[in-house]
Symmetry: C2
């Protein structure tokens, strides 16, 4: 379907291929709510020399870094984005050199290198449909902003040259639905699963919920508690701390929309 | 507890540390039924230069290669074997050079190299307790032999230089308990999970159940069907086909007995 044909469709009604086509065409938007029913993915591409450490870091830290797929050096498409191009199909990228952000392009082609191995990690946007289907509203979607994300005082299990803090996303949930939010998201272990922390931001070393480290603050209504899920931005925090010579990630909240169905990551 | 103190204990009553101590001391036995309630693991150690491909092979073939833990180059112990030594604590090893078996030592210390990265993969022995707890007998335990394993005509998803066939283990199950066997083992995805095939050996390219490629044949009683689970010997078949310069594995059926509880790999 061409951009003209699908122009009238709301983001949630797009197919994954249509969503990726829009982003390839230059649309820059957080992707929460896009292509309803389809899984979204975090991206981290590193030189081949760092790939084993990243994959082992993911294996040892499966809550923040659930691996959905890996594109080996030289591969730019795969089963998660058939007919796509990982260098262009994400709304916005962050380019790192020695752990420092050097660019935030909407098309990463000019920065891409043949030796980059790309990791696609599960994203908690994937279970938001399931939360909404059971009547739990998602604040950042309702409020039209990016999900708030925070670096925590909790450390990831390090691997070789890679270390860093756990990053979490936060969604306010009415206190009487807190147990439901845990139950529902527990069924999606491949996309961060159950929360890592419920309430008590200070327990994660978060001083001020209104000042997220990534994304946007959301309003928390009376009677709501902040619930924290492990976040796929965690490897970006590890890149900043560990300073590999080069890396490319997605911009937080600006995910790859994949062809995988949310339901394929659901356990009974 | 010393070897003298625990000498009277049956293998199933041993702690994992006691079991590893026996194997370190030279006992050579298939480990099915040892240290009841504790997970067992397949072993594959490869040079660092091959480690990324092995880990990605595991990620792309999670049914035969569920990663429970990885010891990086230079590490010989870890949370799965606290106080242990991966070079001595498995009952028997196989040493491969360029894909050919060159030795089958009970102590691998003399063969070990500082650049070896060790992968510990889930083993279906882990769910045998759960099968037996629901009254499904395990033939190779009853018959006192090693589990039968077969190379199949099904191919694994290849990665770089690594390719090979799926290897399966087989347990005969009474036809009226076939559904139960599926239900019970489905709850253990980290240790191969649900069967890959039920009945019909020819559909997997298995010509003769009485001639397994690894382990021992078991008797199949009237009314029983052969049920096939993905097997952690699969990476050994990939080593034989793909010929890395060097590799060390466990001898099929002779697993690492770990400190992890079976139940920790169970999903609801």
């Amino acid at each position: 379907m061409s951009a003209v044909d699908d122009a009238a469709l709301s983001p949630s009604a797009l197919t994954p291929a249509q969503a990726r086509e829009r982003f390839r065409g230059g649309v820059v938007r957080p992707t929460a709510g896009w292509a309803a029913g389809c899984a979204q993915a975090n991206l981290l591409a590193v030189p081949r020399d760092w790939a084993f450490e990243v994959l082992l870091f993911a294996q040892r830290n499966p809550k923040p870094c659930p691996v959905l797929g890996v594109l080996d050096a030289g591969e730019t498409a795969g089963p998660l984005l058939p007919g796509g191009d990982i260098r262009t199909d994400v709304p916005q990228y962050v380019v790192y050199e020695h752990g420092r952000e050097v660019a935030r392009p909407v098309d990463a082609t000019a920065y891409w290198r043949d030796d980059l191995v790309t990791f696609l990690l599960g994203c908690s946007f994937t279970f938001e449909d399931a939360l909404m289907a059971e009547g739990i509203r998602v604040a950042h979607i309702d409020q039209g902003v990016n999900v708030p994300m925070y670096r925590t005082s909790r450390r990831c299990e390090p691997v070789g040259r890679l270390s860093g803090p756990l990053v979490v996303s936060m969604r306010p949930v009415p206190a009487d639905r807190g147990a439901d939010a845990v139950r529902i998201t527990s069924r999606y272990p491949a996309v961060h699963g159950a929360p890592v922390h419920v309430g008590d931001p200070a327990g994660l070393g978060i001083a001020d919920l209104a000042a997220p480290d990534y994304g946007d603050a959301v309003r928390i209504a009376p009677g709501e508690i902040p619930v924290f899920w492990a976040c796929g931005v965690t490897p970006q925090a590890a890149v900043v701390e560990s300073r590999p010579p080069f890396a490319i990630s997605h911009a937080p909240g600006h995910m790859l929309v994949t062809d995988a169905r949310d339901s394929s990551y659901q356990v009974p």
